[in-house]
Amino acid sequence: MDLKFSKEDLEFKQEVEGFLDANYPLDIKEKQDRRYPLDKSDVIKWQKILSKRGWFAITWPKEYGGSDLSPTKKYILQNVLAEANTPILIPFGVNMCGPVIYSFGTEKQKDFHLPKILNSDIWWCQGYSEPGSGSDLASLKTKAEKKGDYYVVNGAKTWTTLAQHADWIFCLVRTKTTSIKQEGISFILIDMNSEGIEVKPIITIDGAHEVNMVYFDNVKVPKENLVGGEGQGWNIAKFLLMHERTGIAGLAAIKRELNRLKELASEIYTGEDTLLEDNSFRKKINETEIELEAAEFTELRTLSAIAKNGAPGPESSILKIKGTELQQRVTELFVEMLGYYAHPFFKENELGSNMSIGPDYAAPVMPNYLNFRKVSIYGGSNEIQRNVIAKAILGL
């Protein structure tokens, strides 16, 4: 057992920090530091900067434009980026659709799509969930019927994150009615400019427009947009889930927010002491910190298992649950810290114009708390995650 990073790894960390000093745009940094929403163009700009340095699609194989960074270096890179509070990458292209295409796609699909994903020229969104199919995704009903050179797609997808920005959507669709539901599902790529697609906003409790309904009315999709053959959709979806699993915890970001919370709490006086010194509040911070440390080492154990055996061990399965619970806990502590000043409320489009009432960091705190209710629901709810662990790991 050895806790230290190698000299080479430490040098790499410095390299990333130096890169950030030189390349992280100030206008984006300013918004990020204030926790204001970013524009589409900000996100694209930042992704392109990372891409140029070869640090965008780091999990991709080198031959497709990925990196050959060791698992430890990937970890370091992601952590330094998170510590500096750089924008979260939009995962739908680079972490989801990209890996599917280079693993299951045709040469033509790879040639056409991968460079555009690498360069953030195409904004992808994920069309899995439907009004009737959330946790039970395999029950999905959106239909793709083959008619000559096309599939004709009919149905509705929901909760589609940032579909209002998207150029393309990857969908799970039903190409066949089979007795085993999973067998009739296919994975298809659809141009959002196709005729018959309609996007309708769903406003969430934080007042933001982040998710959408996407309707398909006789949308013609060229048959070569199918990935991996008819009926392969479910296997691809499972493959993707494995791909997602570890990244989703975002522990470095949680640590950053927890540190920020401590710093801010140390500036709030409640009588003699600061809020940070307040026994009850401090206890909660400490409990959160301990759990976070445990999760960090669970992640490191996962990393080490991958480096050794090429696959994560069972411990990795807990990261999504623990990560999302910790995220939610920290947003909750921010609300608690602010007291009454968490109550003044500005919607997404009102933020960014220095609207805070009270401390200048106040305005995004409540929206953030509300928004983060989602993290225990999406990407497989925490109930579903526990079911999976019970079955796959505990053998129940």
């Binding site: 769903i202 969430t204 009588g271 000043y341 708390y369």
Partner: protein
């Protein structure tokens, strides 16, 4: 021992329930939340006509002489409809305080207008640094001949934008956190030197930042006696704490019932999600938290009405339970609704938001647990 309401109390409960069913459907509530005023003046007049505004005020003040029990009944029903009208702010916080402290003149002048529905109040008692400490006051009132000059800043003043009169807690003696030397002033909202910055709060209601700059008020506008405001301020906030807890109990009832209903109709994996045992247990816990909250609400309200020696302690115990239960019930309602739970369209998220602000208003769980153990 009897936990049932008497005839009049039952009548009021039915009246409020009917009002919400007939006049306060969800769409109406949402359009009021979005309106400039943030509530309906027409509804307010209706409350006046039905006698609700004076229900718990003393007969001397022109009210019906009811108690915190009547307030509890109204507020619990208001919770179920997530009513936006500032009953808590004007009637429970503002008017009760005037009723407790005011002289005959003040009561007559202010409370008769309140009861008729023509006057709105706001209690300006919090400052940016004060958190939940009612005696942490830097706003100053300096004697100036027969008058006082008020200077200072009050934060997140609930119902501030609609208030015609503010009750301002200010320091007339001693130091920032001293419980002595605090006085309560009745201040006209149009007084020179008052400025407000108004905004919406996350629960759909309205509040203000209030700046007082050399606001001149006469010595007659002191409520109660000089320097002795703290005791009444604490009592007034305790009464309002009971009321807001009643609102929370109403909200929790709606949330647990709505969630149970949803779990019976939402199907995944070929069965209603309510069939999954893990969700069943969670909903049972929601139900239990609601029932436990209701029990403490009854206990604390009755102790308050009977003026029991441990009444304050009971109120802090109640507020602690409401904070804890409200968070649990609110978060679980959203979780069990899945994606639907986080939509602005569904009422669940809005009930959750109000429970969240109630968790803070008049002191969060940490504050009340400490107060509980110190009494």
């Amino acid at each position: 021992m009897d936990f049932s309401f008497n005839e009049e109390q039952t009548l009021i409960q039915n009246q409020v329930e009917q009002f919400i069913q007939r006049d306060y459907d969800w769409e109406t509530r949402q359009s009021l939340a979005e309106s400039d005023l943030g509530f309906s003046q027409e509804n307010w007049q209706k409350f006046a006509e039905l006698g609700w505004l004076g229900i718990s005020l003393s007969e001397e003040a022109g009210g019906f002489g009811g108690s915190a029990i009547e307030t509890m009944i109204v507020m619990e029903e208001f919770g179920k409809g997530l009513v936006l009208e500032p009953f808590l702010e004007t009637i429970v916080l503002g008017s009760s305080l005037i009723d407790l402290t005011g002289n005959a003149e003040q009561k007559k002048e202010v409370l008769s207008s309140v009861i008729e529905g023509n006057l709105q109040l706001a209690l300006a008692f919090t400052e940016p640094q004060s958190r939940f400490n009612l005696s942490d006051i830097t706003t100053e009132a300096k004697e100036d001949g027969k008058n006082y000059l008020l200077n200072g800043f009050k934060s997140v003043v609930m119902n501030g934008p609609s208030a015609n009169q503010f009750i301002v807690s200010a320091r007339t003696a001693n130091n920032q956190r001293d419980i002595k030397g605090i006085s309560l002033f009745l201040v006209d909202a149009n007084s020179e030197g008052i400025s407000t910055r108004n905004y919406k709060t996350v629960d759909g209601r309205r509040a203000s930042e209030l700046t007082l700059e050399n606001v001149k008020v006469s010595a007659d506008s002191i409520l109660g006696s000089l320097d002795k405001g703290y005791e009444f301020l604490e009592k007034g906030v305790d009464i309002a704490t009971l009321a807001i807890c009643a609102e929370a109990v109403g909200i929790m009832e709606i949330l647990y019932k709505t969630t149970v209903e949803y779990s019976k109709t939402r199907e995944q994996f070929g069965q209603p999600i309510g069939k999954f045992q893990v969700l069943q247990h969670r909903m049972v816990d929601m139900f239990m938290e609601y029932e436990q909250s209701k029990s403490l609400l009854y206990m604390a309200t009755m102790k308050h009405v009977e003026n029991a020696p441990d009444s304050k302690k009971a109120i802090s115990g109640l507020k602690y339970q409401i904070g804890k239960a409200g968070k649990f019930v609110g978060q679980e309602s959203i979780q069990i609704h899945g994606g639907m739970g986080v939509t602005d369209e569904l009422n669940v998220g809005h009930f959750f938001k109000r429970l969240t602000t109630i968790g803070t208003i008049f002191g969060n769980t940490d504050f009340h647990l400490k107060r509980y153990s110190s009494i």
